[in-house]
Symmetry: C2
Subunit: 345 residues, 2 copies
């Protein structure tokens, strides 16, 4: 199974490999006669020639490859499990990349891992990293020489481009919405709050909204664990066992909200009658579950698209400075929230 190389084409067409290369890449400022072009093209077609992109990258110094790193919380546990958000994002990234002639090198990340290795090993042209925390070791990335875009990260480093949302404001909006609907005692259900992580921002937003309305942030209204469906159910457990009386909950991820809702419903708590829920992300599932989820909507597809676009822009114009995109957030009303008249509580 001998691969046919440019040499074979050159021989077949009776020209040099350089000529074949020029013909195939339509080099600007190079002139190849129509006749030769024709001959080369025919030879290539006849031999079924496909250029070897690896070899090409070796000399051209770029690979048309984008590295994508997605968090894989637990080693055995795959990333899409923990949050479908990643799957949707990945899809958008893949689509945009391919549209622009790039392929994706996919890797799950664990915290102990050297973020830079894939990039260096394979010589990717750019890297998209999803959800890192400040404090993780990103030093190797800083000097790697290819554009790096951080999606949903509060790492601030002039070496990295960022795509994000205003998590704090989104959370405030969600909480405020519940308050406007007449709720006073509002639970906060979330993955663990790490400093400068996404969840800590959302917690801030929650607190701000509560305080602005003159409502207390009670410790026992906080349900903190991991961003997973399981923990959502555990939180529901805690809710009923404590005999908690929050009439609403702001949950910082849809997947978590789904688990929470399910756990509650199974224990006889009705949604939204007994408790209203607002999620975050507007994952595709949010409209699929029952009851469908009122949630803070972000354009996940756009996020993925921008991430790739950002790499592309940086590649095109290496001297342009750091780029920062903030996507708008809106509140999508569905069926998991109910108005509560003042007297009811």
């Amino acid at each position: 199974m001998k691969r046919v190389s440019i040499k074979d084409v050159a021989r077949e067409a009776g020209v040099s490999t350089a000529t074949v290369s020029y013909v195939l890449n339509r080099h600007p400022g190079e002139s190849i006669s129509a006749e030769t072009t024709q001959r080369v093209l025919e030879a290539a077609a006849r031999l079924n020639y496909v250029p070897n992109l690896n070899a090409r990258s070796l000399s051209s110094r770029h690979t048309n490859l984008i590295g994508v790193l997605i968090p894989q919380t637990e080693p055995g546990k795959a990333f899409v499990f923990s949050n479908p958000f990643y799957g949707e994002l990945l899809s958008a990234i893949e689509y945009t990349a391919r549209e622009n002639g790039y392929h994706l090198l996919l890797s799950g990340t664990r915290e102990d891992q050297n973020y830079a290795s894939i990039a260096q090993n394979r010589g990717v042209d750019g890297i998209v990293i999803v959800g890192t925390y400040p404090g993780e070791n990103l030093d190797a990335l800083r000097t790697i020489g290819v554009p790096v875009v951080l999606v949903d990260s509060y790492v601030t480093d002039s070496a990295f481009h960022t795509i994000g949302i205003r998590d704090r404001e989104g959370a405030r909006m969600a909480t405020q919405y519940l308050i406007e609907k007449g709720h006073r005692d509002i639970a906060f259900v979330s993955g663990s709050i790490r400093e400068n992580g996404v969840n800590s921002k959302r917690y801030q937003g929650y607190c701000e909204a509560m305080q602005a309305a003159g409502l207390p942030v009670r410790q026992d209204a906080l349900y903190l664990g991991t961003v997973s469906h399981e923990f959502g159910q555990q939180a529901a457990d805690m809710y009923v066992q404590r005999g908690a009386k929050q009439t609403a909950a702001f949950v910082t991820a849809d997947i978590l909200a789904m688990g929470f809702a399910k756990g509650l419903m199974e224990r006889g708590v009705s949604i939204p009658k007994d408790i209203s829920i607002v999620g975050f992300d507007d994952v595709y599932l949010a409209q699929m579950c029952y009851p469908s989820l009122t949630t803070v909507h972000q354009d996940i597809a756009q996020k993925g698209k921008l991430a790739v676009q950002c790499i592309l822009d940086a590649l095109e114009n290496p001297n342009a400075g750091r780029m920062e995109h903030i996507l708008p957030l809106t509140l999508t009303e569905r069926d998991s929230v109910e108005e509560r008249s003042a007297g009811e509580c």
Copy 2:
């Protein structure tokens, strides 16, 4: 931002590049003194040397790259949207691949696309293709010279390895289960049935079970569309508009079942009280939704793992023949099915 190459290391250590290469790759039968080894290793560490895998593949003729092709039903619509099954599978593939030192080259596929191109371009060592139909043009893959494994495909071609399940039997099992629960009038909700496609097998299984029980397969009990949450809801629409009286439904994909269930519940049909539902795949979501889904369970993680393993085996032993793995199917009982006493209907 000059990359440090093996030459730099060689210079730094005062040896030839060959020596560096030998040291780094612990070549069997080659002897390098402990002292030199030490010197090279130190030089490499000092310079922060990372081998360029692309260059390596050029001479070593393998890339440690596995190409993964996942169907992307509609161009704009990302693959995980259409079915979370793919996301879970992909995760498992990624995990197993990386465990074995392989990276993943990910690509969505559309029908019009040349399956072989990525493989040829990038020189991947193996290809995993998910969900192709017989009749699609796979010729280019046959002569590509790297192992190809088809996941969930009824293409029979000695050139390809396969990983699959007994779709027909799974469907029979599900339908039989509903029959045993006392249901006589059972709907079949599915994506479109293409010859020799997965859904056609599941349809066969459904028919077999019905016939074995002496029950008719009624045309108006068939709800055929696409494998998507939307169509599930549409099917629910049809169900209530027709005033259908099926007391149970076998739905050929969990995602579809979720849409169906949701559509029904929103129209006041209760599950499982009014209608029982059995899904297929046991996607992670099946246990997350409410009510949780009774479904035909397959080990998706295992499927992904086997796909990679299959490539690895074929690479190790190129002369071994075609491999075929069939994974077992079981029925997972949850909350979407209810027994129906004979008189009730």
